[in-house]
Structure formats: structure tokens, C-alpha cells
């Protein structure tokens, strides 16, 4: 067990180290080196491939589909002017999101310049979390230089954030709500945590897994509050879509089923789908099987495996291990999980940074493997190419499994546990 609190018993050499002008714990130095090094390799590789005329996917470091940049939000521009009217339901194409997400999207389409404002929102959220991280690092004892360098490096090497900026995906709402939910939980503000996680669960369903944090602490009322928030927002969204809530509910169910029909079993966008099912799709690619019939058994298998892991191991772990293991599961167990969903890991990374600041130099080596896995997961990996297709996401899926296994095997105590 790694004690992570600064105390009076801090070894003298650690106290001296902290007084140096460029003090950065060893594990964070490795992390900084790894994110910068891997990103330089990725961007350099693409630059050379572009100069040599290799074509795509070699010549660009991020997922590339012409016409699809910004499309995850702009594709709603025909449908949302009809929000709240019967015409809203008659558009061709699917809106494969839970009903509550339509409220978040409409909040932007109700403005005179939805596209510009949404882009501004994406940038502001990125800056907001960067500022929060900088503030947390400074509060943890880092001086201005190392804190600024680390924060800026995490921002410019953030592969999931850059994918989000390229696609304009609504995952930004999940990132916002899940991160605030996990951080407030870590700070023991349980009511706020329940509200944020309830909101996230209404917007995407999978964040419901984070209610598992409340159970070992017997915060049953907070779980009830979160579930109530999720249900209430869904009902409000359905009512806003149509005065006939039952009709709106059925329409929304058909939209969600379309996702399962067209995307869940198909190997589309395998290059940036780091789900566990993506690994199965990758392994079976040579035979091009139709995995539709395997979806239900796979989902049940994953659900049972999660329950076994949760009650067998996660339940007993310190708060950091619980947050990280549930974060990894939340971005891995969906049938399809594109790389921007990795943004949900930044809350756990922030807590790990805080733990590193409060851990003695002798024990930093326990944290370094966590940081190295984070570094590989959160940088492009676009150089993993087989037969003309990027499979960086499948390596990322394996790294996520490794991170989960390590999280379940190495308990790390943080401020949250000690308090």
C-alpha cells in the first residue's frame, strides 16, 4: 500500500528535493517524457509520410474521413430547427443518443450561431480543465515552471481532446459531467457527485457504472438522488421532444437500436474504436463474420465479468483504484467506444498526479507504470498500421486492460482515503 500523504515524517532528502527550482516527482518526469516522446514520434512519422507521399492513413496523426470533420455536431443542422415539432421525427438518418442529449444539443441550436458557439464551448471546456489541472498542481506544491510545463504538455499531447475538436462530438458533455462527478466524489462532496453522475448517466447510460463508487460507502440516498436526476431529465427531454411522451420514448428507442444495428457489430472505424468488442472484431477480421448474433451474449458476459470484478475486488480497493478501474471499464465495455471517450480518464489521471506529488521519492517507482500506461493510452499511436489500416485503438484496448489489471493489483492510498 502506498502512503501518499505529505507529513512531518517526510524524509529529509525529499524536503530538499522539493526546494529545488525544478522539482517534479520522478514518476511525473517519466510521464512528461513519455507523452512528449510518443507524440513527437506520431507527428514526426506523419510528417515524413506526408513528405514522401505515402498517402492516408500514414500522412495524418488522427482519424481521417473527408467530409466528417466537425460532422458529429453539424449533422444535426437540418433536424434541430424543427425541435419540439412533429417534423423533428421525420428527418432521414438517425439520432443515436439518449433523449436527454437532445436537450444539450438544442441548447446550442437554439442560438443564432450554433456551430460557432459549440466550437467555442469545446475550446472553453478544454481551457477550463487545463486551468483546473494547473491550479491543482500548484496547490499540490509544484512551482510555477514545472506546473505550467506539465499542464501545457498534457494539453497539446491530448489525443482524445484533439479527436474531439476534429469531430465536434457531444462526448464533451460526458467529459464535463463525469470529470466533475469524479472530482467532487474524490473531494467527498457526495451530493454534487451524485448530481453530476446522474446527469452523465442521462446523457449516455454507461456512466451509470460510477454509482458503484457510492455503494461501498453506503451513500444510498446519493445513489437515489443521481438516479432520480437521470430519470427526471430523461422525462423532461421526452416531453420537450413531443407532448406525447410515449411516442417520443418509442422513437428514441428505435434510434438507439439503430446504433446496435449499424455500428455495434460492424468493424467500422476500428482504427479509433478501443472497445473490448473492438479487439474481438480485430481478431476475427480475416473471416469478416457478422457479429450481430454475438452482441447479446457478449454484453451479458461483460456485465457478469464487471459484477464479479466489482464485488470481488473493486469494492475493497482505495478510492483512487475504484475511480480508475470504473473509469477504464466505462470507456471499454460499450460495443463501440471511440477514442474521444478516453477524456473520461483525465479525472483519474489528475488524482494520480496529486498522489505523485504527495509520495516520497523512494516510492515513486510504484506510480511510474501507471503513468507510462496513461501516456501511451492518451497519445495518438497512429504508427500502429497493418495492411494500410491504423490499429492504434486495439493497442490502446490492450493497454487499458493492462491498466485495469494493475489498478486491481496495486492499491494506492491518496488524500481521499486518509481523510
Amino acid at each position: 500500500m502506498i502512503p501518499a500523504s505529505k507529513s512531518d515524517r517526510e524524509p529529509e532528502k525529499d524536503q530538499k528535493a522539493r526546494q529545488r527550482p525544478f522539482w517534479l516527482p520522478t514518476s511525473l518526469r517519466y510521464f512528461l517524457f513519455a507523452i512528449l516522446g510518443l507524440t513527437i514520434v506520431s507527428l514526426g512519422y506523419s510528417l515524413v509520410a506526408r513528405i514522401l507521399g505515402f498517402g492516408l492513413p500514414y500522412s495524418f496523426s488522427y482519424p481521417f474521413i473527408p467530409g466528417a470533420f466537425f460532422s458529429d455536431f453539424s449533422e444535426f443542422r437540418l433536424r434541430f430547427p424543427d425541435f419540439g415539432t412533429p417534423q423533428f421525427f421525420n428527418h432521414i438518418g438517425y439520432l443515436m443518443y439518449p433523449a436527454a442529449m437532445t436537450l444539450a444539443i438544442e441548447a446550442f441550436y437554439a442560438t443564432p450561431h450554433p456551430l460557432k458557439i459549440f466550437f467555442l464551448f469545446l475550446v472553453i471546456i478544454g481551457m477550463f480543465f487545463t486551468g483546473c489541472l494547473y491550479h491543482i498542481l500548484r496547490k499540490g506544491g509544484l512551482s510555477l515552471g514545472p506546473a505550467a510545463l506539465l499542464t501545457a504538455a498534457i494539453l497539446i499531447t491530448s489525443y482524445p481532446y484533439l479527436v474531439l475538436l476534429l469531430r465536434w462530438n457531444t462526448e464533451v458533455f460526458i467529459w464535463l459531467t463525469v470529470t466533475l462527478g469524479l472530482w467532487t466524489f474524490y473531494r467527498r462532496q457526495y451530493v454534487w457527485a451524485a448530481i453530476w453522475i446522474g446527469l452523465a448517466a442521462a446523457l449516455k447510460l454507461y456512466p451509470i457504472i460510477f454509482f458503484g463508487l457510492f455503494l461501498p460507502r453506503r451513500r444510498y440516498l446519493d445513489i437515489a438522488l443521481g438516479v432520480f436526476i437521470a430519470i427526471a431529465i430523461t422525462v423532461v427531454a421526452l416531453r420537450t421532444l413531443s407532448p406525447n411522451i410515449v411516442y417520443a420514448f418509442h422513437w428514441n428507442s428505435v434510434q438507439l437500436q439503430a446504433f446496435g444495428k449499424y455500428y455495434a457489430a460492424a468493424p467500422h472505424n476500428l482504427g479509433y474504436d478501443h472497445s473490448l468488442l473492438g479487439l474481438v472484431k480485430f481478431a476475427t477480421l480475416p473471416w469478416h463474420p457478422d457479429l450481430t448474433s454475438a452482441l447479446r451474449p457478449f454484453t451479458w458476459f461483460i456485465a457478469v465479468a464487471c459484477l464479479v470484478l466489482y464485488f470481488g475486488r473493486i469494492w475493497k480497493m482505495p478510492i483512487f483504484n475504484q475511480i480508475l478501474s470504473l473509469s477504464v471499464l466505462s470507456v471499454s465495455i460499450a460495443p463501440v467506444s471511440y477514442d474521444y471517450t478516453l477524456l473520461s480518464l483525465y479525472a483519474a489521471l489528475t488524482i494520480l498526479c496529486v498522489a505523485a506529488l504527495h509520495t516520497s521519492e523512494d516510492e515513486q517507482s510504484n506510480l511510474t507504470p501507471f503513468f507510462l500506461l496513461f501516456a501511451a493510452i492518451l497519445t495518438p499511436l497512429n504508427f500502429i498500421i497493418l495492411h494500410g489500416a491504423v490499429f492504434g485503438a486495439q493497442l490502446r484496448a490492450l493497454l487499458l486492460i493492462a491498466l485495469l489489471v494493475m489498478t486491481l493489483r496495486r492499491p494506492i492510498r491518496t488524500e481521499g482515503d486518509i481523510a
Partner: protein
Amino acid sequence: MHAERLFTLKSLSIMFLLCFLLTAEEAIHLVRSHPNKLEDSRTIAFHPNCLPLEATGRILRCPVPGYGDMNFICSKEGCWAKEPSNGLFITASEAKLLDNHFKVVNEEHVK
């Protein structure tokens, strides 16, 4: 102690600067190249500058501004990026998604 000697403020700052320059170069190239613009007129029958990769002509290798060539899957309606992990194989769901995509595009054109 090794990490402290290897990863100094100076070495990490140089790496950060290099990373920043490469990111800026990639961003500037992306903005200047306009690769997001699709060639609307391309179809299975009409595809100037493209190279058919198999006998039916459904999969073509066409230029993308600024980034070299990439594979496209085409129908009579138009062309769309080919899922690269399948190679030259077209799955049923891939073909269905292509049809759906052009239905949406046609709706936009009607509006």
C-alpha cells in the same frame, strides 16, 4: 536519480517545444489543405484522377488535398471513405451505411 539527470527542465522543455512546433505545423497544413472538402461529383462511373482497386470498380483510390491518396467506396450516388480495416472487402453493413449516407446528403440538397 536517473530520471532527474535525464529529464531535466532543459531537455523536457526542448521536447515540449519540438512537440508544439510539430503540432502547429500539422494544424497549419490541415487548415491550408482543406481536406474536409469532398469531391461531390465522384461516383462509381465518374471518377477522374482515381484508380480502381478491384474489378467491380466500387473501391477507388482517390487523392485527398494535402494528404496523398486514400481508399473510397463508391455507388451510383457518390463516394465515401472506405473503412480501411476491411481491406478491399465490403461488408453488408458498410454498404447499407453508404446508402443511408447518400439519403441524408440528398435530403440536404433538396433543402
